[in-house]
Amino acid sequence: MNAPLKTPVEIDPRFLPNQAMIKGDGKPVVFLHGAFGQEWSPPLDTLAERRRVIAPSNVGAFDLDELVHMDGLLDLLVYYDDLFNGLGLERFDLVGHSFGGMVAAEYAAMFNRRVERLVLIDSLGLWRDDQPVADYNYIPAERQPALIYHDLQNPGVRALMASQPTDTAEIIGIALDRMTALGSTNHFLWPIPDRGLHKRLRRIDAPTLIVWGAQDRIVPADYAQDFASQIAGSKVVVIDGAGHAPQIEQPEKVSAALVDFLS
C-alpha cells in the first residue's frame, strides 16, 4: 500500500482545505471514506494504475468546529459539490464505503446528472428494525477491530494493525485524529444512521455496483439487497471472508470488482 501525500483543496473560507489524497492519471474516480476516517486501501492503488483516484477527508475531520456550518445532509452535499468543483471534476465515478457510501448514494441521488458510475461498499444509510446497524461507538476501543473486521488474523488487517505507532505522543496524536474523524461522521449519523436515504435512492441514474462483506457485523449483508431493490439496474457482489471493510480484508476481490465495473 502506497498512500499518496495529501493535496489541500480549497472549498470556502469557512472550512480548512480538504486534505484529499490524490494519485494516478486518467478519468477521475472519487473514493469517500467510512465512519472511522480517511484511508488509502490497496484497491485504490490498483485503480490508480489507470485512473486519477481522489480520496478526500470528511468535513470536520480535522477540526470539529467546522461542523457548526453543517445542519444536516443538504449542507454536507453542498460541501462535497463545492469540493468536486474545486477539484475540477465534471462527470466522474463515485465510490463510497460505509459512511462514505451513504454520502455517495445521497450525492448520486441529488446530483444525478453528475455521477457516471456509482459503487457502494458496505454502505450506511438504511435501517432495518429486524437487523439494526451495530453501535460501534458504545463499545470499548479495543473491541472495535473485532466488530469492523471478519478475521483479525487476515493479512490485510494484520498489516494495518502492525503499522500503528508505538511512541506515546504519536499514539495520542492518532487517537485524537481518530476521535475527531469519528466525531465528524457521527455528526451525520448519530444516534441512528438513517436520514431518509430510502426516499431518494430511486433518483440514482448511474449504473450502480453494490459490494458487501458477507460477514459484515456492522451493516449485515442483507442490507445489500435493500439497496439493490431500490436502485434500478444495480448489481450486487457479496464478498466472502470480509466484514465491514472488504477493501482491507479481500483487496484482490474488491480490486477486481472495481476494475471490472469501472472500465
Binding site: 468546529d65 461507538n137 458504545y138 470499548p140 448519530w190
Partner: protein, 421 residues
C-alpha cells in the same frame, strides 16, 4: 459558607453482583430486570421526606439535579420535585442544578418552568444550567455529540433573553426558531434567578462561567484532593478574566457520613460507600467519551492531565468492595466521614483548599435506607452544620449568587446589621 443538602435520588436496591452482571449503571441497565416501580414509589417518598427533613433541620439550600435512564440517580425532571419543595413555607434556597438545557425542545420550557418555580417559592430558586452528562445527552436522549454544546449555548441565550427582554420578541436560532418569545411569568428575582453552572472539568465551561459572571460547581465523587487540580484550572480562569477571588464563585459536591465516633461511622456506612462506588459509578469509559462530544482541545487537556474520566471517571481499577474505610476517607479522601470533629476538620480543609463557598453535601448514598439517611442528616445538621457555617465570614465575602428570597441565615456585608439581628 452555604451548605446545600443535595439528593442524588438513586435506586437503593441494586443487586450485589450488579457490576459483574451489567455493563453500566447508566443508559443500558435493563429496566424490567432492575427497576421495580413499586420500590421507586417508596424511594420517591423517602427522597422527598429526606429533603423536607433537611429543610426543617436548617440546611441553607436543598439540591436537585437531572439525570436519565440509570440507577445512580434518576431525577428525570428535577422541576417536578422542586415544585413540591417550592410550595413549602421555607426560607431555604432550592438549588436545581439543574435543567440539562440541550434536552429541552424548545428550551423556552426551562425559562417558563424555572420562572414558575421562582414565583411559587417566593424567589428561592437557583437556576442551574448544566450541559448534561454525556450519558444523558447523547446516550439517553440521542443528541448528536457535536451539537450538544452549540445547543447548550443557544438555549442559554434564549432563556436569559426570555427573562430579561420585554416580550414578545423573535428568536432566530440555529436549533430553535420562535416567532414570539413571551413567557408568562418571568421570575420574581431580577434580573433573573442566580445561574449556576456545573460540570466535570471542561475548559469551555470555566470560560463560559467567567464570561457571564456565573458560579461554577465541580461535581465529582473523587473527593477534594483529586479535585484540586481541576478547581485550580477554574480559579486560574477567574484570575485571567480579572474577576475577584470570591469563593462563592465556586461549589463542590462531597459525600459525607457522620457517626458519634470515627469507628461508629465506619461501622454504619462503609458497606454503603462500597456499594455506591461499585454500583452507582459503574460506567464504562466509552459511555463518557463519545467522539465529537468534546473539543479536540478539551480531549487533549484531559489526556495531558490524565483526567479522561471527568466527573464520572473512576480512580484506578481497585475493587470498591475491598477498599477500606481508611482508603476512602484518609488516603484518597473520596468520602469525608467520621465523628463530627473529624468531619468538621476535613470539611474545613476541603473548602479552604478548593476555595469554595457552596458545599453540596451528599448524605444519602446508594443503598442507605430512610432511617440511616435521617440519622446521618440529623447528626450533620446538629453537630457539623453550626461549626462550618461561619467559614468565609471573617474574610467578608458576600454571596452574590444566592437567591434573593432564600433569607435563611442571611448575612450581609455589614457586621452592624448582623449584630442587630
Amino acid at each position: 459558607m452555604k451548605t446545600i443538602f443535595f439528593h442524588m435520588q438513586g435506586y437503593r436496591d441494586l443487586p450485589d453482583d450488579f457490576a459483574d452482571k451489567y455493563e453500566s449503571v447508566w443508559i443500558t441497565p435493563p429496566n424490567d430486570e432492575l427497576c421495580d416501580s413499586n420500590k421507586v414509589a417508596k424511594y420517591l417518598r423517602w427522597n422527598i421526606e429526606e429533603l423536607e427533613l433537611a429543610d426543617k433541620l436548617g440546611f441553607d439550600g436543598l439540591g436537585l439535579n437531572e439525570h436519565h435512564q440509570n440507577g445512580y440517580g434518576f431525577p428525570v425532571s428535577p422541576n417536578l420535585i422542586a415544585s413540591i419543595l417550592a410550595r413549602r413555607e421555607s426560607d431555604a434556597a432550592i438549588v436545581v442544578l439543574g435543567n440539562t438545557l440541550p434536552l429541552y425542545n424548545p428550551p423556552i420550557r426551562v425559562a417558563e418552568e424555572f420562572a414558575l418555580l421562582d414565583c411559587l417559592s417566593g424567589g428561592r430558586l437557583v437556576a442551574g444550567f448544566p450541559v448534561g452528562s454525556p450519558m444523558d445527552t447523547v446516550g439517553c436522549y440521542g443528541l448528536v455529540p457535536t451539537e450538544v454544546r452549540p445547543r447548550y449555548f443557544e438555549a442559554h441565550d434564549l432563556i436569559t433573553q426570555a427573562w430579561t427582554r420585554p416580550g414578545p420578541f423573535p428568536f432566530n436560532g440555529r436549533f430553535t426558531k420562535l416567532r414570539y418569545v413571551n413567557p408568562w411569568p418571568k421570575p420574581i428575582q431580577k434580573p433573573h434567578p442566580p445561574v449556576w453552572l456545573a460540570g466535570g472539568g471542561s475548559v469551555e465551561t470555566w470560560k463560559f462561567a467567567t464570561d457571564n459572571n456565573y458560579t461554577y460547581s465541580y461535581l465529582s465523587f473523587q473527593g477534594y484532593k483529586a479535585a484540586k487540580n481541576l478547581m485550580q484550572g477554574y480559579w486560574d480562569q477567574v484570575e485571567k478574566a480579572g474577576l475577584d477571588h470570591n469563593p462563592y464563585r465556586a461549589g463542590f459536591a462531597q459525600a459525607v457520613v457522620v457517626g458519634e465516633t470515627d469507628a461508629d461511622a465506619e461501622k454504619l456506612y462503609l458497606k454503603h460507600i462500597q456499594n455506591f462506588y461499585a454500583k452507582s459509578l459503574h460506567i464504562p469509559m466509552h459511555f463518557g467519551a463519545v467522539p465529537g462530544l468534546m473539543s479536540r482541545k478539551s480531549v487533549e487537556y484531559n489526556l495531558s492531565k490524565g483526567a479522561g474520566g471527568g466527573a464520572f471517571g473512576k480512580t484506578g481499577s481497585e475493587n470498591p468492595y475491598t477498599t477500606t474505610w481508611q482508603q476512602f476517607t484518609e488516603q484518597r479522601r473520596q468520602v469525608i466521614g467520621g465523628s463530627p470533629d473529624t468531619v468538621v476538620a476535613q470539611i474545613e480543609e476541603a473548602v479552604r483548599s478548593l476555595h469554595v463557598g457552596h458545599l453540596m453535601v451528599i448524605l444519602q448514598l446508594q443503598s442507605m435506607d430512610r432511617e440511616l439517611t435521617e440519622y446521618n442528616t440529623r447528626l450533620f445538621a446538629e453537630k457539623v452544620l453550626p461549626r462550618i457555617r461561619h467559614l468565609w465570614d471573617r474574610e467578608g465575602y458576600v454571596d452574590h449568587w444566592w437567591p434573593q428570597g432564600a433569607t435563611r441565615n442571611a448575612r450581609t456585608a455589614s457586621p452592624a446589621l448582623e449584630t442587630a439581628q
